[in-house]
């Protein structure tokens, strides 16, 4: 069962907080949707730091990050 996190349009640090919460809940894989490169890089850094594997896919002009353990 995939956990979906829609963090589009949210200001710092909310995308990272939402993704972090999902990681703590532990239901992998986690799909995080973001709309800026800032949020993409922030979520990627936090997830990698917490030992996740991060796959980034551009979706139109937004990004989907797939986090797996």
């Amino acid at each position: 069962m995939t956990t979906k996190v829609d963090a589009r349009g949210l200001s710092c640090p909310q995308p990272v907080m939402l993704a972090q919460q999902a990681i703590q809940d532990g239901k992998f894989p986690i799909e995080v949707l973001v709309d800026t490169v800032t949020a993409r890089e922030n979520v990627r850094r936090m997830a990698e730091y917490r030992g996740c594997k991060v796959e980034i896919m551009p979706v139109n002009d937004e990004f989907q990050l797939k986090l797996t353990k």
Binding site: G9, S11, C12, V16, M17, D35, V37, T38, M46
Partner: protein, 372 residues
């Protein structure tokens, strides 16, 4: 190739490069003519712009600061070059205006934004310590609200032209600065003849420094508020390493240039009224945390198309107008014939800081999403 640059700028070394560049340019800009310990100050310089436009009439602080123009346009250039320019708006604009307004009231109570607080400390002004402690306290308060579900809500994508409004205003300010038109007898544009507003590095140098900072900060997401917030919220020291680089490099540069002077009293454009240094910066820190970025970061976000950050910037400029028209800004310490007069706030200034704190706390409490 572009992706490799993006990775570098997003790395630890990228943010350190940005902080170190700001730390070098601050004291150098002072050497080249900017006011003491004010090589770069986002709040002070926006206040000077408000003065130049006649939004306040404090004659000593009126100048269209090219650094601010450069910081926005440098960010725009970086965002366009790396295809990150994205017009977006609609996330609680009026709230951001209020947060910008009170962030400025707090910053002018202390006499500086977080950028200048660091440059002041790097110049030996120990009052910056109380200011920075206040800043951290305010940000910690903001983190509590964030943890309990505070949100400004989502922005949405909009027409590109919307993202160009603040960069466009900056271009207009640049024209006003270059041509210096006078719109009426004794009217704006005002340029200070004495005081901090009259002290300025040459236009092209200031503009160039601003552009470079804007470019680097857009790439690295340099943020003096986020630096503290991320440490408190998730023990993430990434942004803090940038601010630490700023502080260390500015300190060394000040020593090398002979601009370091240690002490509390009669520091340049500063007061030693400790409680209000602390509370002023606490107000700023809380407002920045609730708005998602320090005043510099708000400029850079505006540059890459964020219309909500642009509203925050306008809120700060209007706040500066009120701060000086209503005598809310801190009065610097004065040293005349060996007699020290400690500066600080008027009663109205103290009231404004307290009201600002109350408004920010109210917004922080009232704008919480119910957790599912």
């Amino acid at each position: 190739m572009s992706e490799r640059f993006t990775r570098f700028f997003a790395s630890r070394w990228g943010i350190i490069l940005a902080g170190a560049t700001i730390g070098l340019l601050g004291p150098l800009l002072q050497k080249w003519g900017n006011p003491a310990n004010m090589g770069i100050c986002v709040a002070c310089f926006e206040r000077d712009i408000a003065g130049a436009l006649g939004l306040h009439r404090a004659a000593a602080v009126q100048y269209i600061r090219p650094e601010i123009i450069g910081m926005v346009l440098g960010s725009t250039a970086a965002a366009l070059l790396f295809r990150e320019f994205k017009a977006r708006t609609g996330s609680a604009p009026i709230v951001r205006f209020m947060l910008g307004f009170f962030a400025m009231i707090g910053a002018l109570a202390f006499l500086g934004c977080p950028w200048r607080a660091n440059l002041r400390l790097a110049g030996g002004d120990l009052n910056a310590i109380t200011g920075l402690l206040g800043l951290a306290a305010g940000i910690a308060g903001g983190v509590l609200f964030l943890k309990s579900g505070y949100t400004l809500g989502r922005s949405s994508k909009t027409y590109p032209v919307v993202g160009w409004i603040l960069p466009g205003i900056m271009l207009a300010l640049l024209l006003l600065l270059i041509f210096r038109p006078q719109f009426s007898q004794g009217g704006p544009i005002f340029f200070s003849q004495s005081g901090p507003g009259s002290l300025a590095a040459p236009l092209l140098i200031s503009l160039g420094a601003g552009l470079l900072i804007g470019f680097l900060a857009q790439r690295t997401r340099f943020c003096t508020m986020g630096a503290v917030r991320d440490v408190i919220l998730m023990r993430d020291f990434h942004l803090l390493s940038g601010v630490a680089a700023l502080l260390v490099v500015a300190f060394i540069t000040n020593l090398a240039l002979g601009q370091f002077k240690l002490g509390f009293e009669a520091q340049p454009v500063a007061h030693s009224s400790h409680l209000w240094n602390f509370l002023g910066m606490a107000l700023s820190g809380l407002a920045f945390a609730l708005a998602g970025g320090c005043p510099g970061r708000q400029l850079f976000l505006s540059g890459e198309g964020d219309g909500d950050s642009a509203v925050f910037v306008i809120g700060m400029v209007v706040g500066a107008g009120f701060a000086h028209n209503f005598s809310l800004a801190g009065k610097p310490d004065a040293l005349a014939e060996g007699v020290l007069t400690v500066g600080g706030l008027t009663n109205a200034g103290m009231a404004a800081v307290i009201i600002g704190l109350a408004v920010c706390v109210l917004l922080g409490l009232a704008m919480r999403e119910q957790k599912a």
